[in-house]
């Protein structure tokens, strides 16, 4: 996180800027430029450009939604021509990307309104879900309008650039573009109601006089039904016309209702098509560096606070083929607590990604607002923050028919406690170093955007040094292999248990490799986002366990750990013996269990027993038994085989068991002698 002073927002003059707001703008620039020659001296400032006001010195304008403009500048660096160039380039990139994305969000909003009205009006047919091309679907709709009666003609006219042009026709070859203000069309449009006419004379006389009706395709028809199609978002969308020449049979009101419904359906198809095209266009944009970095930087804070005396934090994000709405954030508080946020917006595409960014912004705002209400130095509770953010973003989500699952957790290393609010997100997992168990931290909150009246409550759990917390998105557990088998929470739990000693970053690295190995050639269908936190041991208390990889070079690290675990009061002979015996046990696992294949975990845990020293050495090498290793020779004629003998000589009790998740646990005990 960049320092707080690099962010300047003016809440008084800031208009309603739908995502991303100024914070995101700053983040976008900051993240793009942070690694460059500025180093940590970089300060990005942004503000809303109020109409009529002038641009601050050295700032560049940036376009936001609905004609709003913001400015961005890099403090104290404006004289640097490279910086000025970079700033200009980023401003252009941002503008391009943002305007394309903004259009889509509006489009989604429009469409959601249409969907609602449509569903009430007409039960959508299976045609809509089929993979037909839009022109083909429109033609089918017209086919239904004329019930495939060859004596009927039909046309769908769609308004575009001020004229009505034919998008689909039945039993008709040509249709000229029509003026929406003239002829029968003009009357239908101005009266905003369906027209049903019978007899050539009546049809000819019915049009407005402003323009001759000769160009209208139904010229000379004996019966005509003309239905205007309007949508809430666009007003007049177009017209649907059905007519015949040979019979004087008229159209009844039921038929007109059917045409109205079909017209709405046609509108939906055309709008979906428009949306798809825009999405395709953004797919192309996405290839460009700016959108890539926008999505990534907006949704995933680059580097978490790495160095903390008490916490080790790591994040992992593997984007899928499509842009998803996964997001992660971390907020460090002055009191030493750390808030972590992980969330997932239902759906895909840039709109989902931007909703993720908007949710993040709302949560950050909720945090800031609630903090103002608190006595100084106190931090608002996670449930207050989420309830406040939910009140702000919930109605938008409901309108858009989208929802967001998230988990907001506060880690208090001093109080050794985690407090979290679960909004329908996959459960956070806690590895307890003391017992070696993994427990899910499950709340019962609904996703944001499901129920506006939902009150979110926080749950709490104790944390101890060595404990690990894993927060993840369902892209992790729902990653699947070619047999459509899911990776699942069980496998993830086993991986967490197995690799808990590797630290936060090491754990995430193992999760990544294991999930990708599980998936094989299958691509990740969903974003893959994880956040891991490890509670560091205090100086006084050594970590009760260590995980090393199956490499002989890791032995020294294990011995250092063993000596620290035993403490400085332990007799040095005892310390030497334990270090030797553990080395022998681990070497056997590497040599005979993993057959010297590198990269497999071995976990060594010290038990807490008053009368005896107990160590558990765990491996995942499949079933293998120390007993199969040949006995040593004490005559000097064999070079190996002493390992097991040494382990058994030093530890009085050596028990090998297979755990439920398929690991081998070697329990080594030795009574404490004074």
């Amino acid at each position: 996180m960049e320092p707080a002073e690099s962010r300047t927002t003016n809440h008084q003059t800031e208009p309603q800027v739908f995502p991303p707001a100024l914070l995101e703008l700053i983040e976008f620039f900051h993240q793009r430029l942070a690694g460059e020659p500025f180093g940590s001296s970089l300060r990005v400032t942004a503000g809303v450009l109020v109409p009529g006001s002038s641009l601050p010195a050295g700032a560049v304008p940036v376009d936001l939604a609905a004609g709003h403009q913001a400015w961005v500048c890099l403090s104290a660096l404006t004289s640097d021509s490279w910086a000025a160039g970079a700033l200009q380039a980023l401003a252009r990139g941002w503008g391009e990307v943002y305007s394309a994305s903004g259009r889509e969000v509006l489009l989604m909003e429009e469409l959601a309104v249409d969907w609602e009205s449509l569903q009430a009006l007409y039960d959508l047919s299976a045609d809509l879900q089929s993979a037909l091309k839009p022109e083909e679907m429109l033609k089918r709709i017209l086919g239904r309008a004329i019930s495939n009666d060859p004596s009927l003609r039909a046309v769908l006219l769609v308004q575009h650039n001020g004229v009505l042009s034919a998008r689909a026709m039945q039993n008709l070859d040509v249709c000229e573009n029509l003026n929406p203000a003239g002829g029968l069309v003009g009357r239908c449009v101005s009266e905003q109601r369906s027209l049903v006419l019978q007899g050539q004379h009546q049809i000819a006389a019915a049009g407005t006089n402003s323009e001759p009706t000769s160009r209208e395709p139904w010229n000379g028809a004996t019966s005509l039904a003309l239905v205007p199609i309007t949508t809430a978002a666009r007003g007049l969308f177009g017209l649907l016309a059905v007519w015949r020449y040979d019979q004087a049979l008229g159209f009844d009101s039921y038929f007109v209702r059917l045409l109205e419904a079909l017209g709405q359906q046609a509108a939906l198809i055309v709008e979906s098509d428009r949306l798809n095209r825009t999405l395709l266009e953004s797919e192309r944009l996405r290839q460009e560096i700016f959108i890539g970095s926008l999505i990534q930087q907006l949704l995933l804070v680059g580097a978490p606070p790495k160095e903390s005396a008490r916490l080790e934090v790591a994040t992992l994000a593997l984007p899928s083929q499509t842009v998803d709405g996964d997001f992660v954030d971390l907020f460090a508080h002055p009191d030493g607590t750390l808030d972590v946020l992980i969330g997932d917006v239902m759906g895909k595409g840039i709109p989902a990604a931007l909703l993720g960014a908007a949710t993040k912004t709302h949560i950050l705002r909720a945090l800031a607002e609630k903090a103002l209400e608190m006595p100084s130095g106190e931090t608002p509770s996670p449930e207050d923050i989420i309830n406040c953010a939910s009140a702000a973003i919930g109605p938008d989500l409901v309108t858009l028919e989208r929802f967001v699952t998230l988990c907001y957790a506060r880690i208090d290393p001093a109080a050794r406690r985690v407090t979290l609010v679960d909004c329908g997100h996959p459960s956070a997992l806690q590895y307890r170093a003391r017992t070696g168990e993994v427990l899910p931290l499950r709340g019962d909150g609904l996703p944001l955007g499901v129920l506006l009246s939902e009150r979110y409550r926080q749950i709490e759990a104790e944390l101890e040094p060595g404990d690990l917390l894993l927060l993840y998105s369902d892209g992790v557990t729902e990653a699947h292999n070619a047999q459509r088998e899911l990776y699942g929470e069980e496998r993830l739990t086993a991986t967490l248990r197995m690799c808990s000693g590797l630290g936060a970053a090491g754990l995430l690295d193992r999760i990544r490799t294991r999930v990708l190995a599980f998936c094989g050639d299958e691509k990740l269908g969903d974003d893959f986002t994880c956040l891991a936190l490890k509670i560091r041991a205090d100086g006084a208390e050594p970590a009760s366990e260590i995980t090393i990889l199956s490499s002989y070079t890791d032995l020294e690290q294990m011995r250092t750990w063993a000596a620290a675990t035993l403490g400085s009061e332990a007799p040095s002979e005892l310390c030497d013996e334990i270090r030797l015996a553990l080395t022998e046990a681990v070497v056997n696992i590497i040599r005979h269990g993993y057959r010297e294949e590198p990269g497999h975990p071995i976990r060594i845990r010290a038990g807490h027993h008053a009368r005896s020293l107990v160590f558990y050495v765990e491996d995942w090498a499949g079933e293998w038994d120390m007993a199969t290793i040949p006995q040593p020779s004490f005559e000097g004629d064999l070079e190996g085989g002493f390992g097991v003998f040494i382990v058994r000589s030093i530890f009085e009790d050596v028990v090998l068991t297979r755990s439920e998740d398929g690991s081998n646990v070697l329990q080594l005990s030795k009574s404490r002698k004074l």
Partner: protein, 114 residues
């Protein structure tokens, strides 16, 4: 592991410079020592730097011993730390190796003048 060699009155003294001889470096040491293990060589391994030896390290030393014995030479150890000595005793290798507390004693055991 690095080591130095010097010859005193026909005895080659190999000073092992590492603190640790375990599974991570035993094999490499065995290979590196091959040129030293000439037929009939009289060898002393000075182990005063070593703080930790495991059974793999012991195996490497045993391998050297067998090799020099088979060609009519000998290998003696000296300056062994207490912790290392404990391992040798645990697996009774103090009965297989000749172990001297000082380099001089080891040299004298070859009849060399010190």
């Amino acid at each position: 592991m690095e080591f130095t060699t010097e010859t005193v009155s026909g005895v080659t003294i190999v000073t092992l410079l590492g603190e640790t001889l375990d599974a991570s470096n035993a094999k490499a040491l065995k290979t590196d020592l091959v040129p030293v293990l000439a037929p009939g060589a009289k060898l002393v391994f000075d182990m005063k730097a070593l703080r930790f030896v495991d059974s793999s390290g012991l195996g490497a030393l045993l391998s050297c011993l067998r090799q020099v014995h088979s060609s009519g030479g000998d290998l003696k150890l000296c300056e062994m730390a207490k912790t290392v000595r404990a391992l040798f005793e645990l697996v009774r290798m103090h009965r297989i190796f000749e172990i001297y507390s000082s380099r001089e004693e080891a040299l004298r055991s070859y009849g060399a003048e010190v």
